[in-house]
């Protein structure tokens, strides 16, 4: 364990970004959470990405109002299948994307259940966003108006997207990041790296360059 270093999360010298936002994707299996994630981060689409194992979280640094923001985008790791998402998943989440499939009504009606779960476990100030995915499909059963109405009822913004055609995918993440940034600017949310004083980072140091980042 040589090369262990002491890193303070609040020491911002030499950072390649101004802030970090933890964002979660939530919704039923098969609605395209991972596809949205992979499309946004890697600009790839593979229709056989049916379910999620293997995706933990992905990172993409974006420019929000002139600030470099590192988006940490978390997938459910397949634990949504039996609604066994760990409560720890919600810790520190600043944004939560609720995703349903416009071709599958059940995933749409389940959004209310997910909304309830999120309210139980996530920070009250976390910014939510409703997404109707697979808008390219002709087999659509949930109209955009229905999505809009639900979003209004829940009091959260709404976007329809297609990970396959790359429609509105960037909009999802940029819209959410901007809303989070507004909350941070008005001190409603505490950004990661600003309010984590006293946290000890235990990731290994230079001895092992292939370690992924930690925040």
């Amino acid at each position: 364990m040589s090369g262990l270093r002491t890193v303070s999360a609040s020491s911002g010298n030499g950072k390649s970004y101004d802030s970090i936002m933890k964002i979660l994707l939530i919704g039923d299996s098969g609605v395209g959470k991972s596809c949205l994630l992979v499309r946004f981060v890697e600009d790839k689409f593979n229709p056989s990405f049916i379910t999620t194992i293997g995706i933990d979280f992905k990172i993409k640094t974006v420019d929000i109002n002139g600030k470099k923001v590192k988006l940490q985008l978390w997938d459910t790791a397949g634990q949504e299948r039996f609604r066994t998402i760990t409560t720890a998943y919600y810790r520190g989440a600043m944004g939560i994307i609720l995703v349903y499939d416009v071709t599958d009504e059940r995933t749409f009606t389940n959004i209310k259940q997910w909304f309830k779960t999120v309210n139980e476990h996530a920070n009250d100030e976390a910014q939510l966003l409703l997404v109707g995915n697979k808008s390219d499909m002709e087999t659509r059963v949930v109209t955009a108006d229905q999505g809009e109405a639900l979003a209004k009822e829940l009091g959260i913004p709404f976007i329809e997207s297609s990970a396959k055609n790359d429609d509105n995918v960037n909009e999802i993440f940029f819209t959410l990041a901007k809303l989070i940034q507004e909350k941070i600017d008005s001190n409603k949310l505490v950004g990661v790296g600003n309010g984590k004083e006293g946290n000890i980072s235990i990731n290994s140091g230079s001895g092992n360059s292939s370690k992924s980042n930690c925040c």
């Binding site: 890193v7 990405f49 946290n199 980042n213």
Partner: protein
């Protein structure tokens, strides 16, 4: 070496794995690992391993197996993660206490709960609190910590430092003198004592090699050894054995105590001037969830509210309460708390751990070092009014740990004392803490001269000034406001040990051969209940023993590395700041040479 018959790992089994190196160790996990594999919509019909119970050991095991390539179904009969390691809200605790007293939670007894009306209907909500059933601290140099990093589970967690270890003696809470600087600057230690202490610290960092020093004392007690060999006096002996070593009684054997003392010293200054870490939002409950997520990323299937009813070792079919079945090609691993009805093989849980968890409405931060929200208080044998023979340990967490709201504090007290004595000892420790807190918070301390005060035996309290004042003349004016009090007795087959030893966990080796007619658990392997150990040291050893039973070898236990998918982040976190090594600064003690992980040493 990886054997050729070995099951391909998670990384090797996917099409995107293109590494044809002769000996792919450590395994490199591509960043889209698993994404090609579509998951079925229902629970699988067939798995390699079924694990029941999502406690610490089971969760570490699930993650190790998933990344090794095993197809794992991991269930829990509860509707929450954690099982014996759970972090629970107050409402969940209420339900748990009822279940314990109905007898439906095995291995726990005598649960007594008081909850103030301020929680729930008052200013606090049940969810403001996260109460651990088996609270633990993480040493900065330990096997679990290295696995947290290797598995990247540390990314799911937040850690804070724990540097304050108090010893209670003569009605006072004395803060540990634990660094070389502190030893040297402590005006009250005689020069001779300082030298003896330094000599011992130098020895203990590399003790095994120096058999000529400790071997003659191998079968004697640690206090004899420290007194005779290093001429240390009682206060130092007690600090070393009970605060630094966190041992349970005076009969601790020399090698065990040395191991435990070194654990503290080698952990010190790994990340800063403190030996241990605490996870935020809860201890083992958070860590076990982290390992469960890691296992899920590695392909394990999770189902809560799923109770095992029976396992048939002939057909290899496990049946659940909801009627569903799964064929298990290899092993069924069960926590004793998740044993099916009519089970006949649950190992005897002969040791008791008595616990008392309190939530106090008082923002008392005097226990903590600045910027911290955690402290350990140790009540050595004979220090309490009850005349305790075993140690009472109190692990204290404040609001900064996010397990309780501002203005409150959580005390986790536990003892390895057996039988009815245990509660008396715990009550005496609670009273001592209560008195300290009341005096501390009472307005207008009598006189300021008492800030440095001599206690009965001539020892001066320099730190924790207010707490350090003697109780003897103090009469509390008020009672402390307790928001929550929970007593319970937990049973375990793991003895309160000095050194983590894999034999402790090797309980039911012959089980598979001895089938009992009518038993619902023939052929299963039981895990062990958490012991009284306040550190996580037992977890990895226990998980490894089970892993080896399933896989055949523990060579590739978490032997993996992740492809670095993210932008090089060196610049982001490269602000490494080496703390001066307080123990090692002007001595030739070789810390590197003694740097094995404590928990792995006896394997």
């Amino acid at each position: 070496m990886l054997s050729p018959e070995r099951r391909p790992s998670m990384a090797e089994r996917r099409p995107s794995f293109f590494s044809f190196t002769q000996n792919p160790s450590p395994l490199v996990v591509p960043h889209l690992a698993g994404i090609e594999d579509p998951l079925p919509a229902t629970t699988p019909d067939k798995v390699d391993v079924l694990i029941a119970g999502t406690g610490m050991v089971e969760s570490v095991l699930a993650a190790a197996l998933a990344w090794q390539g095993s197809n794992v179904l991991h269930i829990d009969k509860n509707d929450y993660y954690g099982d014996t390691s759970a972090t629970l809200t107050v409402d969940q605790i209420k339900r748990w206490v009822n279940e314990v007293n109905e007898g439906s939670v095995s291995c726990y007894k005598n649960a007594k709960l008081y909850v103030s009306t301020l929680i729930g209907s008052g200013k606090y909500s049940s969810r403001d609190f996260g109460i651990d059933l088996s609270p633990k601290i993480l040493f900065a140099k330990s096997d679990l910590l290295s696995i947290l990093i290797k598995s990247r589970v540390h990314q799911y967690l937040e850690f804070q430092s724990l540097s304050n270890f108090h010893t209670y003696e003569n009605d006072c809470f004395e803060k540990l003198t634990n660094t070389k600087q502190e030893i040297f600057t402590d005006q009250n230690l005689p020069l001779m004592t300082k030298r003896n202490l330094m000599k011992f610290i130098k020895f203990v960092l590399n003790w095994e090699a120096q058999t000529e020093i400790w071997q003659p004392y191998a079968e004697r007690t640690m206090s004899d050894f420290l007194g005779e060999k290093f001429k240390l006096e009682k206060p130092q002996v007690f600090e070393l054995i009970f605060s630094i070593g966190l041992c349970y009684d005076l009969n601790v054997k020399v090698p065990e105590a040395l191991q435990r003392i070194r654990r503290y010293l080698t952990s010190f200054d790994v990340y800063g001037p403190f030996p241990a870490l605490c996870s935020k939002y809860g201890g083992p409950g958070e860590l076990s969830q982290g390992f469960c997520r890691s296992a899920a990323v590695g392909g394990a299937t999770y189902k809560l509210n799923e109770k095992l009813v029976s396992f048939n070792p002939t057909t290899k079919v496990a049946t659940f309460q909801d009627g569903s079945k799964v064929e298990v090609s290899e092993k069924v691993i069960i926590s004793p708390t998740q044993a099916p009805k009519d089970s006949k093989h649950v190992p005897q849980q002969q040791y008791q751990v008595h616990r008392l968890t309190c939530i106090v409405e008082n923002p008392c931060t005097e226990w903590f070092n600045e910027g911290e929200s955690a402290a350990m208080v140790v009540f050595p044998p004979g220090s309490l009014k009850s005349g305790n023979k075993e140690v009472v340990q109190a692990f204290i967490l404040g609001a900064g740990s996010e397990i309780c709201p501002e203005g409150t504090i959580v005390w986790y007290l536990s003892t390895t004392e057996q039988g009815p004595r245990a509660e008396m000892d715990i009550d005496a420790a609670l009273e001592a803490m209560e008195m300290a807190l009341l005096r501390e918070s009472s307005s207008g301390l009598e006189n300021d001269e008492e800030i440095v005060q001599l206690t009965g035996n001539g020892h001066t309290i320099v730190n924790s000034v207010k707490l350090g004042q003697s109780f003897k003349e103090y009469v509390p004016r008020e009672r402390l406001q307790f928001l929550f009090k929970l007593y319970y007795t937990q049973y375990t087959s793991t003895p309160p040990f000095g050194v983590v030893n894999s034999s402790f966990f090797d309980v039911n080796q012959d089980l598979e051969k001895k089938y009992i007619p009518g038993a619902s658990d023939n052929g299963v392997i039981y895990t062990t209940m958490p012991s009284a150990e306040i550190s996580y040291d037992e977890v990895v050893t226990a998980a490894k023993v089970l892993y080896e039973k399933i896989v055949g070898s523990d060579d590739d236990f978490f032997d993996l590395d992740f492809e670095d998918e993210d932008e090089i982040q060196a610049s982001g976190v490269a602000n490494a700041e080496q703390f001066e090594n307080a123990i090692d600064d002007d001595d030739d003690v070789n810390m590197e040479g003694s740097g094995e992980f404590v928990g792995e040493m006896e394997i």
